[in-house]
Structures are given as structure tokens and as C-alpha cells.
Amino acid sequence: MHLGKVIGTIWATRKYPALEGAKLQIVQPVDKNLDDRGAPLVAVDTIGAGSGEIVMYITSREATIPYRVELVPIDASIIGIVDRVDVQG
């Protein structure tokens, strides 16, 4: 799992049918200090995160698990909204 910040949304009417109604968010990965780290990516959001929120997301094949449909071509999914990050050291 990774940490990221929701920085925007993708609108795509023409998409794979199983993705009908899916929320596609643009996520900027962040490090443990919540500073930007690496390139933004697009993740399906089944949780309902708002823009600017820090989220947890998963990638690769496992990203399809939270989704309501079995066969769906997604490789990143938001799985949680972070309240707080405590890091020692």
C-alpha cells in the first residue's frame, strides 16, 4: 500500500463498460512526511475521498478487489482516507 494525496478527477464517458459510474481520481504519491514523491497516477475511488485528502491506495492486480465487478481493468484503487500518520524517526 502507498500514501497519496487526491489532486484531481478524470472525466471519461467513453470507457470500458464495467467502469461505468466509477470515480477516477488523480493521486499524487507522498512520502511519510506527506511531501510529494514521484509521478501522479489515476486510481479508482470506491471510498469517496475528496480533493486534497491524504489517502491510502493499492496497485497492480489487487486493485481490482475493492471494486464491485469481478472483471475490471484497473491497477490502482484508493482503499482508505488517512486521518493521521505517526512516524518515529
Binding site: 484531481g8 470500458y16 481493468p73 484497473i74 491497477d75
Partner: protein
């Protein structure tokens, strides 16, 4: 998923027979302002994107999670054509 622009097509008659009938598009990754990034991927087109269009590409095993690419030797699939981006917070 990554953002990209379809910049061309690959034609290959001699290929794994499981790929017969698949449209193979060349996609260049782009930044959020659609400016080109280095590199490209060849992706099976599952939504009928045209050259020049901004698309979303799914990669890895998830690329096989469509009726068209299931159980096929595919690791990149175009699964959406982007209409618009809303960027609220610059990262």
C-alpha cells in the same frame, strides 16, 4: 493507471495467435498538462481510441481483466478515453 496520448498503431501479422484481431496502439505517457513524457507502451485498445486522443492505460496483470484481453499475452490495455481533467490542488 497512467495518462497517455495515442500516437500510432502497430501492425503485426505474425504474432501470438491469441492476439489475432487485437488493435495494438502506441501510447506515449503524458503529464497532467498533456505534455509528452519520455517512452511509450504498446497497448491493446479495448475502447476504440483514435490517434491523438488522451487515454488511460492499465498495466500489468490488470491489463488482462477485460473480455477482449483475458488469458492473452497482454500487459497494457487502453480502458478509457479522457474527456477532461479537473486539477484542484497542484501537488
Amino acid at each position: 493507471m497512467i495518462l497517455g496520448r495515442v500516437i500510432g498503431t502497430v501492425w503485426a501479422t505474425r504474432k501470438d495467435e491469441k492476439l489475432t484481431g487485437s488493435t495494438l496502439q502506441i501510447v506515449r505517457p503524458v503529464e497532467l498538462d498533456y505534455s509528452p513524457k519520455p517512452g511509450f507502451v504498446v497497448a491493446v485498445d479495448a475502447v476504440g481510441a483514435g490517434v491523438g486522443e488522451i487515454v488511460l492505460v492499465v498495466q500489468g496483470s490488470s491489463a488482462r481483466q477485460t473480455v477482449k484481453t483475458q488469458n492473452k499475452p497482454v500487459d497494457a490495455t487502453i480502458m478509457a478515453i479522457v474527456d477532461k481533467l479537473d486539477i484542484e490542488e497542484q501537488g
